[in-house]
């Protein structure tokens, strides 16, 4: 700690802290800034933060403070004003922010900025939440000496790619956007062009602004120069109400804020106008991926299921009431005896899953399947996952992370962003996969193994990669982050066990920033596990289909090419779904329309086992209800006691019955505390328009390792990769962020960014098969047959076809399999 003086008051602040940050955090003094941002290196460009700076004079010989004639410490003032943003605090630093000279300097900078600013606030999206507007009101000269006709006129609608528009007139050249992309994301796709007043932002990638994080630049842009194609001209900020929510797409569980307004485009109901980041420094800081930001349109898809439907004797689906539908389902379940199973998707909330489990208990079935069945080993995450208080932002020198069998940028983009930054802080970041992934661009070490051999690789790490093993073993903190690429479900389990063993053996469990993470698909992979739903159960259900199957938020036919075979064997399918157009609807006996995350409240448990709350934001779709409510009412009909009236009471039940959730309440999940940096307050100029967290920072569940129980390693059951016979190749399904899933496709603005269906083929294989890049190929594997474009550009190891899931309309296998490839003439 050092002593500094701000406006004649004394403060103790940590040595080396940025002066703007220190003044704000410790002295509640908002030094105005435009270019400075607490998450980025200072650049001293805008000159808005000028302050008077001096230092307490000390005698060189004695180190004693020199006193003036009044007995006050003597201050040696610098001759010129200094930019606060480029200063780090040192002992005896003296700052004045309230002198006439400083006031004048601030006024001058505002005046300079406004000479080139169009002053079209009435038609500017930023109006109402604009740092320039606010600082002009606070520090501006109040009138203009610039003659209007002297202003330069520039292009006001420059598309920087498909998602972001630039208004060149409004840009104040602060470079926040450029620096965000370059310094933080590492996708160096924006730049300045030209110089002087002609300086303009351009994108230098093709497609333009090619990154998964572009929307964040619109939050930190201090003016209305950058707007999203999604929101621009959609509403005024003061008409919007903010509702805290959770990114429904991946295991990070990014905290988001849904900006809603009663809207004529949505029948006068509350409608999501935009999705914004909500600060949670342990989860997503103040950033979200473009998928989280622009992927909300599925909640208002025209294909949303409207009303309960029951198939009549003629096989036609007929609309009915909830009461009738639930009565019918209850009698079907009763009639089936115990021969009932359930499959639940990972967008189901903890409460939904619990209510479904209650229904299953009522009929005496324990066949609870999790969907999709790509990743195994959630039980191991519950045991040796990262400890309570973990924060990827805390990792630094001496720590290590191993990412294995994952294409992290595509699977959990926010983790990719935060681990890229961790690497830059000195973390040893190893990336192991059978092919090149984007994460390798940010890695300290890149390792290769053959597809299917991830678990072998990790089990034999000490013998075969002793240096790496030692680096990881000796790290102060170690996280192993797994995916399931190139593995069968058994292979995935083996990998998880091998990872858990390594962590246990090297003592990296049961404490913060140590342990196991996995890229479970969807926002609630861990919730599925805690509520008793596993992919192994699903496998069993697929092999031995039950008489009655309840499917909840799982797009079986789009995810699994074999669905048509095994679902046929089910006598009665009850489908709780968002969408009426799922193929499963053709088979289902009953369709129960449920609500998306946006229309009701609930909780998700993210990959770090953080239980986080989302709140009711958008107006309901027709008769759709929250799944927990539907299931709880069904449970009542099956004799499980009175239906629950709120998600909070379901959580109370969970807390009573699921040991890991003991003591968890909505109240606790909703607790907030002051976070550094202080973003989203009245001074939007400091951190941007990411919202303050008012919805809760969540509760991280303890791992077994933390509850004091002994944790033992277990044997790894290695499974060999399928052996290809002549003419066969390994078909490796992979994840791409932008795809044609039903929960993403309705975001039409993203369509130009969704790849045409393709598969990566190794050049040696391509030569053998007479395939060139761009050729259409047919890939056939037991129940799958898809046609895609071949990409021959080094993306696939020899002998394997890398085939992204959810780009084709037909399903691609969930896990690795064997198949044949041929060119289509």
């Amino acid at each position: 700690m050092v002593k500094i003086y701000i406006d004649d008051r004394e403060y103790d602040v940590p040595a080396g802290m940025n002066l703007v940050d220190a003044a704000k955090w410790h002295a509640d003094n908002d030094i105005p800034v435009f270019c400075y941002h607490p998450k980025m290196e200072p650049v001293g460009m805008c000159r808005m933060c000028l302050v008077q700076q001096g230092a307490i004079e000390k005698d060189r010989a004695t180190g004693e403070v020199v006193l003036d004639e009044h007995g006050q410490p003597k201050v040696r003032w610098m001759p010129k004003l200094q930019t606060a943003c480029t200063q780090r605090v040192t002992d005896g630093m003296v700052i004045r922010t309230n002198t006439a000279e400083v006031d004048q300097a601030r006024q001058n900078v505002i005046e300079f900025l406004l000479t080139s600013h169009p002053l079209d606030c009435p038609i500017c999206d930023k109006g109402g939440e604009c740092p320039l507007q606010n600082l002009t009101m606070e520090h501006g000269p109040g009138m203009s000496r610039m003659q209007f006709q002297d202003k330069q006129h520039l292009d006001k609608h420059v598309p920087l790619g498909d998602l972001i528009y630039l208004d060149e007139e409004r840009c104040i050249q602060c470079a926040r956007c450029v620096r965000f992309q370059d310094e933080l994301v590492g996708d160096d796709v924006l730049a300045f062009h030209e110089r002087g007043r002609r300086l303009q932002i351009i994108t230098n990638s093709n497609p333009g602004f090619d990154t998964y994080f572009s929307g964040n630049t619109t939050d930190i842009c201090p003016v209305g120069a950058l707007t999203t194609a999604d929101f621009r001209f959609g509403a005024r900020p003061w008409e919007l109400t903010e509702v805290p929510s959770i990114d429904p797409f991946d295991a990070a569980g990014s905290n988001i804020s849904l900006s809603i307004r009663l809207d004529r485009d949505f029948g006068g109901k509350a409608m999501i106008k935009r999705v914004m980041p909500r600060q949670n420094e342990s989860v997503n800081e103040i950033w979200i991926s473009d998928k989280a930001r622009f992927g909300h349109h599925f909640t208002r898809s025209e294909n949303r299921a409207q009303s309960p439907m029951i198939r009549n004797a003629n096989g036609q689906l007929m609309q009915t009431t909830w009461e009738e539908a639930l009565k019918s389902v209850a009698s079907i379940l009763k009639a089936a005896g115990k021969d009932v199973a359930a499959i639940a998707g990972s967008q189901m909330s903890n409460e939904d899953l619990w209510a479904l489990r209650e229904v299953m208990s009522a009929v005496g079935s324990t066949r609870l399947g999790a969907w999709p069945i790509t990743h195994a080993g959630a039980d191991l995450v519950a045991q040796v996952g990262v400890g309570v208080g973990s924060n990827l932002g805390d990792l630094g020198k001496g720590d290590a992370v191993l990412i294995i069998a994952s294409d992290l940028e595509e699977e959990v983009p926010i983790w990719r962003l935060r681990l890229k930054l961790a690497k830059e802080r000195g973390v040893f970041l190893a990336v192991a996969n059978a092919r090149h992934t984007r994460m390798e661009d940010f890695a300290t070490a890149c390792l290769r193994y053959d597809y299917g051999m991830a678990a072998h690789f990790l089990s034999n790490l000490r013998a075969e990669n002793p240096d790496l093993a030692q680096q990881l073993a000796q790290a102060n903190n170690l996280i192993i982050l797994t995916g399931a690429e190139g593995l069968s479900l058994d292979g995935s389990r083996a990998l998880m066990q091998a990872a858990a063993n390594f962590l246990i053996e090297t003592g990296h469990v049961g404490k913060p920033n140590n342990g196991l993470l996995s890229t479970f698909p969807g926002p609630n992979g861990m919730g599925q596990y805690y509520m008793g739903f596993t992919p192994e159960n699903t496998q069993d259900i697929m092999i031995n289909p039950p008489k009655v199957l309840i499917v909840a938020q799982a797009d079986l036919y789009h995810d699994d090419p074999s669905a048509s075979q095994w679902v046929h064997e089910v006598e009665t399918v009850i489908n709780l779904t968002l969408f009426a157009d799922e193929t499963l609807s053709h088979e289902a006996h009953t369709i129960l329309p449920i609500q998306s995350f946006a229309e009701r409240d609930g909780t998700f448990t993210n990959g770090e086992r953080r239980v986080q709350r989302f709140y009711t934001a958008q107006g309901p779709i027709a008769d759709a209800l929250p799944a927990w409510q539907v299931l709880s009412r069904l449970g009542e009909k099956l004799g499980r006691g009175k239906a629950k009236l709120s998600a909070a009471t379901v959580m109370a039940d969970i807390a009573k019955n699921v040991p890991a959730f003991a003591g968890v309440t909505y109240k606790e999940i909703s607790n907030v505390k002051r976070q550094f940096p202080d973003v989203g307050g009245r001074d939007l100029y400091y951190g941007g328009t990411a919202y303050q967290n008012r919805g809760g920072l969540g509760v991280q569940l303890k791992t077994t390792a933390e509850s004091g129980e002994a944790i033992n390693t277990a044997p790894v059951e290695l499974v060999n990769a399928p052996r290809s016979q002549a003419g066969q190749m390994l078909i490796v399904p992979t994840t791409v962020l932008y795809n044609r899933e039903r929960t993403f496709l309705p975001s039409a603005l993203m369509h130009p960014r969704v790849m045409m269906p393709y598969a990566e083929i190794n050049s040696a294989d391509a030569a053998k098969l007479g395939i060139k890049s761009g050729d259409v190929v047919e890939i056939v594997a037991d129940t799958m047959r898809v046609r895609v474009k071949a990409h021959v550009n080094g993306g696939a190891p020899e002998g394997s076809i890398v085939l992204p899931r959810h780009l084709t309309t037909e399903a691609v296998p969930m896990t690795m399999t064997l198949g044949r490839v041929s060119k289509v003439d």
Partner: protein
């Protein structure tokens, strides 16, 4: 006088390696290699050599800032020579290239640098080719590369061409440009000499061509020989680039401390047609103009004396404006230059240069109001001392100094009583005439010619 830099006056073909070597060439380097790096730095310190690129910072002191314990260090030679009216480095590199290379190598040895980068403005592409040849020859002769002159010290020398921007002469923008980045200045600290502030983040000395070309002499002849020229605080010779309304414009290497009068009348042949001098720009467009009073004309050209008359020696590119020159027009020319060259990184300079140019245009086309002169003066003052690099101050100088010393020259354009008459005689002509009317994007109002021309 014997030349330290322009030795081609005494030795024909000194640009050639053998001639250079036969005339004590690379002897300074040889001598330096026999000394410790600290001894070399102290020798340069003792000579009192000050930077010739503009700021006049003591060169030896600059070298001593380089941390000793950093493994990688660089020398960057500033051959951007972009100040209007400056053309001295070019002559040194054209006629006495090995002396620059030798000086740079001595500097490199003194700070134990791994490599020297000579950053030349893009227009010097022909010079760069010639320098590359010299570097090759010197390498073959063992003066650079591995184990220089049989010592344990090794150093490479490279040339690099800029792409045409005044700002790339500013040392931190130069380093960015050298790294392949946008030529914009960096925040300081860290300074180039510090870890994190130099080329690729490594401690770096940035010196002007002329500065380094003095170094072989200092090493070989000793600091006292150097101090035989110039004054106590401004020792040595300096190349004065004289241009504007003089009979014999050109480069004159003379001891520091001669007066403007001597420079203009004794060396540059005086003013054509015997006209009087109105003002002098001692350092291109960036130093404040001074009126040609007797006091000014008799001021010695040294760093310290220029300060006394409210201007700077800078790069000593002396532009002489005779009494036919319209000072408001000259101010407008300079304003346009800085508007065009502002890198745009920081607000006051980016916006201020644009705004001043707009208002000055209005003034000299006769559409200005008396308050417009106060406006540009105030805008210029608001730019001063608050910008990221010195270009902002440079850009304010021509406005502040011209209005201070020649207020009537502006009044003529804006005072309603004088305006009619002025407009009739002096409305500036426009070359091309394309820039009339409202300025659209990228429309430059250039091509103004002096009043009465």
């Amino acid at each position: 006088m014997k030349h330290i830099l322009f030795r081609e006056h005494e030795v024909e073909n000194i640009r050639e390696l053998d001639v250079y070597v036969n005339n004590a060439g690379y002897a300074g380097l040889k001598k330096a290699l026999g000394m410790t790096p600290d001894e070399v730095i102290n020798t340069v310190k003792a000579s009192g050599l000050r930077g010739r690129g503009g700021a006049g910072f003591p060169t030896g002191v600059k070298w001593s800032f380089i941390p000793k314990n950093e493994p990688v260090k660089y020398v960057a030679v500033n051959a951007d020579e972009s100040e209007p009216g400056t053309f001295k480095d070019r002559q040194i590199m054209e006629n006495n290239p090995h002396q620059l290379i030798e000086g740079a190598l001595i500097c490199a040895y003194a700070i134990q640098a791994k490599a020297v980068y000579i950053y030349l403005r893009g227009e010097f592409w022909d010079l760069a080719t010639q320098l590359d040849q010299c570097i090759e020859e010197a390498r073959k002769a063992g003066y650079l590369g591995q184990n220089i002159l049989g010592s344990t010290y090794s150093c490479e020398v490279y040339t690099h061409l800029g792409a045409g921007a005044y700002i790339c002469g500013e040392e931190s923008a130069l380093l960015n440009s050298l790294e392949g980045k946008l030529g914009q200045p960096r925040v300081r600290p860290p300074f180039p000499a510090q870890k994190g502030g130099g080329l690729y983040g490594e401690p770096t000395v940035v010196n002007n061509v002329e500065t380094l070309a003095n170094v072989p002499f200092i090493l070989y002849e000793g600091p006292e020989a150097f101090r035989a020229f110039g004054t106590e605080k401004s020792p040595g010779t300096k190349v004065f680039c004289v241009s504007g309304n003089v009979v014999k414009p050109g480069n004159y290497e003379l001891p520091l401390g001669i007066t403007f009068r001597e420079l203009i009348y004794d060396h540059a042949g005086g003013i054509p047609d015997g006209r009087g001098i109105k003002g002098i720009l001692p350092s291109g467009a960036s130093g404040p103009i001074v009126p040609a009073t007797d006091e000014v004309l008799d001021t010695p050209l040294t760093y310290e004396d220029m300060d006394k008359i409210g201007t700077v020696l800078g790069s000593a590119s002396v532009i002489v404006l005779d009494d036919s020159i319209d000072i408001a027009w000259a101010a407008s020319k300079m304003a346009k230059f800085f508007k065009h060259e502002s890198c745009g990184k920081c607000t006051p300079c980016r916006e201020g240069t644009y705004w001043i140019d707009k208002v000055l245009d209005r003034i000299i086309t006769g559409d200005g109001a008396p308050s417009d002169v106060d406006l540009i003066l105030n805008v210029a003052k608001n730019m001063q001392g608050v910008t990221l690099c010195a270009l902002g101050d440079f850009a304010a100088n021509p406005i502040i100094a011209t209005i201070k010393h020649f207020p009537d020259e502006f009044k003529r354009y804006v005072d309603p009583a004088l305006k009619q008459e002025k407009k009739a005689v002096a409305a500036p002509k426009r070359a091309g005439g394309a820039a009339q009317g409202r300025a659209g994007r990228g429309t430059e109002k250039t091509g103004l010619v002096p009043a009465g021309d």
